[in-house]
Symmetry: D2
Subunit: 459 residues, 4 copies
């Protein structure tokens, strides 16, 4: 029903801090935007693991009483959307595995492309899976023929069998491992807590909250193992690329996070600037953004085009679930509860409306309808990203992708459907060019726009 994209989770690890549980909990709240269907924390007190998981928002899963059961100085936490694997309690992470050689917890952001093959192979060798998540695969690979002495070799061999996007955090009683796929499709950064402990997180906004110092990003293909004695690093593959998911910049991440040294807000603003250069609207009165994630791009568009930036749409921050009868008239009101037009601003104006993406088109159509009802003279829609034309296999919800309006229709058809006066998107090349402006020496995965996938995809 929601006309939004869904990301594949956020992960956070804290190593060696007396308040590991509380810090993890705070970071999960900071990462809540990356997953709202479930959350969990596993801690280690160096002798035992402790686990709390549940469906819903972080604050629906945890309370003081439950946090108090999570003893320990190390912790990993997870917020999730369902991608591969259904939406149920069994799939909420971190998973905790019991083994005579040592229990361990595991959580994952991303998607394994060759999971079906790997599961079949593992089952043939005696594995038994309890969730429909592809994350369990890594756990089974890890414990196959496990010995303490060879643990890094085993992890590297395991990861070399995985095709796809992943950042994994794996917590044994005494070691926190952090791993990132060799294409660098999902973000993972390393920092230092003020007590000397470590933090690993999907987004750097976690570091700011804890006054942690950013050290560096975990590199594509890198495996790090942090113990009280050392931080050991190695690579499972030398065959690496730098294909950060473009949607991390465009939509998923928080504006105050740095993704591979680029500030997300700055990236979006720059997209808006390029959009203004390449896809101008003549004689427009105002630029407005669709809150919240498109405001940065709208600011960039306005700044570049010299068209005034204005507050034309307001988001109600107290929305939550709405208990109303699903009659047509009430459903329409319910949508307006979430997003309101500032009539005094848009009335009689020729508008540039900047949004970050069009999924099924219904929301865009509704926004335009509301703007016109409020007296907007013209509505020119500008998208700060290219049209979605191909499914994502790396962690963005593919079920929603089947309904992507741009996958099946021309831009002109979409324009007609959403009833905009004009509609233009940033092109894949313009997006790449924007990224290059920041000179971080990396590139982007644009597979959902171009169909060029960095990994094999058919298994």
């Amino acid at each position: 029903m929601l006309d939004t994209l869904k990301e594949a989770c956020g992960v956070i690890g804290i190593f060696n801090h007396p308040d590991a549980t509380q810090l993890t909990y705070l970071c999960l709240k900071a990462l809540q935007h990356r997953g709202q269907e479930g959350a969990g924390i596993v801690t280690s007190d160096t002798q035992n693991h402790h686990i709390v998981r549940g469906e819903g928002l972080v604050d629906q899963v945890f309370n003081k009483q439950k946090l108090d059961t999570l003893l320990g100085i190390h912790a990993i936490g997870h917020v999730r959307y369902s991608t591969k694997g259904g939406k149920c309690l069994e799939n909420v992470q971190p998973f905790l595995f019991r083994h005579h050689s040592g229990d361990f917890a595991l959580c994952h952001n991303g998607n394994i492309v060759n999971s079906d093959i790997l599961k079949n192979n593992l089952e043939a060798q005696g594995s038994l899976f309890q969730s429909t998540s592809d994350t369990e695969i890594m756990a089974h690979l890890f414990k196959k023929n496990y010995t303490d002495a060879q643990r890094f070799e085993i992890i590297k061999n395991s990861l070399n069998q995985l095709e796809g996007a992943f950042t994994f955090l794996l917590l044994t009683k005494k070691i926190l491992y952090a791993m990132r796929d060799k294409h660098g499709l999902r973000p993972l950064s390393l920092g230092r807590l003020d007590n000397g402990g470590y933090i690993v997180a999907s987004e750097t906004c976690c570091f700011d909250i804890l006054n942690a110092t950013f050290i560096r990003d975990i590199e594509p293909g890198e495996v790090i193992g942090i113990s009280l004695e050392e931080l050991h690093t190695t690579h499972y593959s030398q065959n690496i690329t730098h294909k950060m998911c473009a949607m991390e910049y465009i939509y998923f991440s928080r504006p105050d996070s740095q993704i591979e040294s680029i500030n997300v807000h700055n990236f979006r603003k720059q997209c808006g600037k390029v959009l203004a250069q390449k896809h101008p609207v003549a004689n427009a009165d105002l630029v407005i953004g669709v809150p919240d994630s498109s405001l940065s791009a709208a600011m960039g568009y306005a700044s570049e085009s010299k068209i005034p930036y204005e507050l034309g749409l307001v988001k109600n921050k107290y929305v939550g679930r709405t208990f109303i009868e699903p009659t047509q008239i009430l459903r329409e009101h319910a949508l307006k509860i979430k997003l309101s037009v500032v009539k005094a601003i848009v009335e009689g104006k020729k508008l540039v409306v900047v949004d970050d993406s069009i999924v099924r088109g219904n929301t865009s159509k509704n926004i335009i309808k509301l703007l016109r009802k409020a007296g907007a003279k013209e509505v020119h829609f500008r998208l700060a990203s290219p049209p979605f034309s191909y499914p994502c296999f790396y962690g963005v919800d593919t079920s929603t992708f089947e309904e992507l309006i741009a996958a099946k229709q021309s831009i002109e058809d979409v324009r007609k459907f959403i009833e905009a006066d004009s509609l233009e998107y940033l092109t894949p090349d313009e997006l790449l060019e924007t990224q290059r402006t920041f000179n971080n020496g990396k590139s982007l995965c644009l597979a959902c726009f171009t169909g060029k996938y960095p990994t094999k995809t058919n298994f």
Copy 2:
């Protein structure tokens, strides 16, 4: 603990609509920012009243099952902060009163200044109060010597005994009354639903949500009675003024609402412009606002000063309650969960930070600390309103006012406390001037800034 101002509630009435309950519920969600401690709805099915009230947010009080018990075509609803009267279930409105001449429900936004005297008089005449709210007074005055024939006379006599700020909605089985104090201290607007029914609400954002047509504001001193047969209007006093609470514009209301024909966002933006003219910062690099309510003023400041507007502070929309141990270190982290600095933006910059108000100073001090930690070179604080120096008797939480930093200290002392490089406020005169720009022929109550109260205040 929260360093914010608290408003005295929001009211909403729906007359003659088959979905009166659902529409009222949706409007309470739209008015949630005006009160988060309790909510209630009373409906009338023309034969009986139905009531649901509770503590907490609208969605904590209501669910489908409870909404289903609220039969009727007329409804009034209320969201509340505690002002006069403690914070408990007994004070949650609307109140429902039983009387042989006809039951009625009542809710109130504002504060009665002479409530103690009136309560004593009423008790001497046989009244017995069940809440500590001053709202009950109007109910008792209304039913004293009530007759159907003289109902408007009785209401007018009742209101003439009240000193203070109020908008009342009173719902009998068949009539919805709406009343506004003679100084017009609190907003109340009248609109028409698309089925011909009526809506009365504290803010016009409710109208937009329901596709209702704005008719006009209820006038200061006006009493309206809406029945199926007629909309009857009268005034309880000819001695009226136009002293809308300035804080409605500055802080309380939603940016998409029109208060006495002035759009709230536009008002704030204009405050920002005047602030830029009168209180400039030379050679600043960026203007940033404190989200959410100060963003409009910051946009105005930037637009007038030609200093770029930027996103320097980000609000986390998934905050809610935080279950952590109240140790000093964790409390500090918890604050940062709510508000993050975009380091990439502010680093090395000379900043103008626009905020709408300083209450106790702690939040401002913290923001400045965070900004400096993120590398801001200079932080110049600009307030889009004058310093609070006097208590409010009209519905803004006076307990918080006792801790108002500006009430006791000079601006320079405040600057030192919050550790800003410079600190300037809009003056009361500049605020009035800003209001006059909009030419709505009305004025403002600036009592909390100037100590000049529109009513008697000592009883």
Copy 3:
């Protein structure tokens, strides 16, 4: 839907104990059987009252956090069923009234017969009611012309205006008043806590729980005022009778309580003995009771008749709400969740089934059906009370009474409906005779069996 009688509440007062709130809470749990729709406690710390009320069971209304807000050394508490007045939060007691001469809380067990007249009179004198409960009347009468010096006179005058059944507890900041109607229709007992404080409760089972010493019953027509200085007693009427509600013995009270010096279990057992003498079943194999309230009478029947007492029906203690689709087949199963037949006991047997009352007959019919399905040869139903033939005006739910099967049908018709092999009731005379066995010098109200009401009933 439930085929049971509903009592009109239980009250408990604690005076002068440091744990007054906790003791009151424990007693409310002990009185939970008297009312399951709502509960509340008001305390006094001698300066202020504190209140918590809510819908549902005691443990749904209270938790540690809420109990902690109830400061004080005096407390009154209430559990309720709705009798006069609907089932909603507004009617949950104790009520707390605010008055310049001193706030006070009030709760009530019983029913005022002339409430409509009194309410009209009071409204004519300026009263305004907020609940549909008749309890509020006493509050208004109390505060009319109140002076400290005349408080006992005022209470006595107030009570003399009330017709009906009542026990009231009224708590000012420093005094706990306990009152009982002049016919003694509802029970109220006085005891002493081990710290020297006082307890007043609907049932003596509360005393046992707190190790309190039973002093005596509050007398019909008595008013007691307990302060730190004294226990003052007086009577509002000399025209008293002793007409304890027979249903208190038969159904409402706990078997371990003493009602006017008669143990409830013993009373029921004696009813069973008389039932066996007067309404024997020849050659029966077993006597079984319908759990829980009829087991005492069944034991008496067995003991007197020398027919073995057996466990033929078992109650499931984990029932609660049942979330199933209301299809016919599932509803039947759901009933059996609550009450199971012990097939091994009843199979092939000629049974005497002792129950305390038949309300609508459906439950009895179902029990007999289940017993026959389990192989019972004959089922002879014996009721340990007379047939309900008249409405109760003193606190037993009259809405249910309208559906009383015995009110409209002959005993033979009822027998046919419930499909028993024989059906006999205790007669009103036999019930009176049973009561006289205990020699407590009091009598019973049998109005619901005989139509002879101890008070005027038409107003």
Copy 4:
């Protein structure tokens, strides 16, 4: 804190009924006494499994919304106490396992004695466990080298590796398997639903609720597989015994259940009779039982001894959690909330008190103290079972057993501790003799009384 024994769960399976989920849910409520820490249901709609599990009582885990997600015509359900494996969500059953050869769900009542060895072996072969429950072992054994053709062979081989007590229900998409250990330590019965479907349950009380027809008990060592085509039966072992856990009769099961053709109430009553014969009390006035599970034995004792049976102790059915400060005085009151003495009955009497078991002795000591305080002249305690002297390895909570008073002390020491005038237990021989009275051709496991275990116990 609770001074009670804990059983190891209850299981229920429904095969081929359109309301399989609802029937399973109702049966879980009927089995609630067997486990109150968690509950779950897995259904199969023949294509997919659906699962809901949670901590707490059945009605805390399920609601209408959750039941509605459980589509299917087959279902298995489970209520649990923690035995082996801690008390957390991860251990709540049924477990659902995913496998390319077909998903399946599994639940278990009992305890596997050689679980550590088996887990180590399985891990060496590639298994990875996610719970600390021993139930997972069976799942791994089952899927090792699984083929459809050999499924019964594989199950039989798997079960032959297990030492201990178990009833398993295993549900694939289309087959429901039911298995019982070769000693018959835990009960499991088979019945037919009125639509022709099947039911398998820990207790026959489930059959009565659903109008199901009892077919027979699953035999020790038997494996049954029910598909739409056939009910296939086989035995995994010929080396069987009949060692039903004596505690099932004495304490765990419901009085209306038949365990191996003996009605539980009748068994208990007969224990009471034998107790009266062998352990009489001369000149006692009354026999009373400790509710609820000892009432049957007390009735037997009274019937045999001709001493009158009376209601001396009353259980409060509305107990639940108690939110009080844990001060000594309040804790004592809290205990009395659960169990009250009927003073009028016991005062001045020489009592025989029949209980089913003494665990730590505190409850017995308290009961005797309460009885004496209420005026009992003498209190003679009679136990309808032998003293616990050895740990149970078959599913009764062993952590509690470590605190068993009889394990360390002589009967005379226990008598002194609980302060009884006399104390006698049924001997193991008397218990066996009682069982033999019923001529069902089976025997009992008395290991917790005698230390003679039917299986190997040290691994």
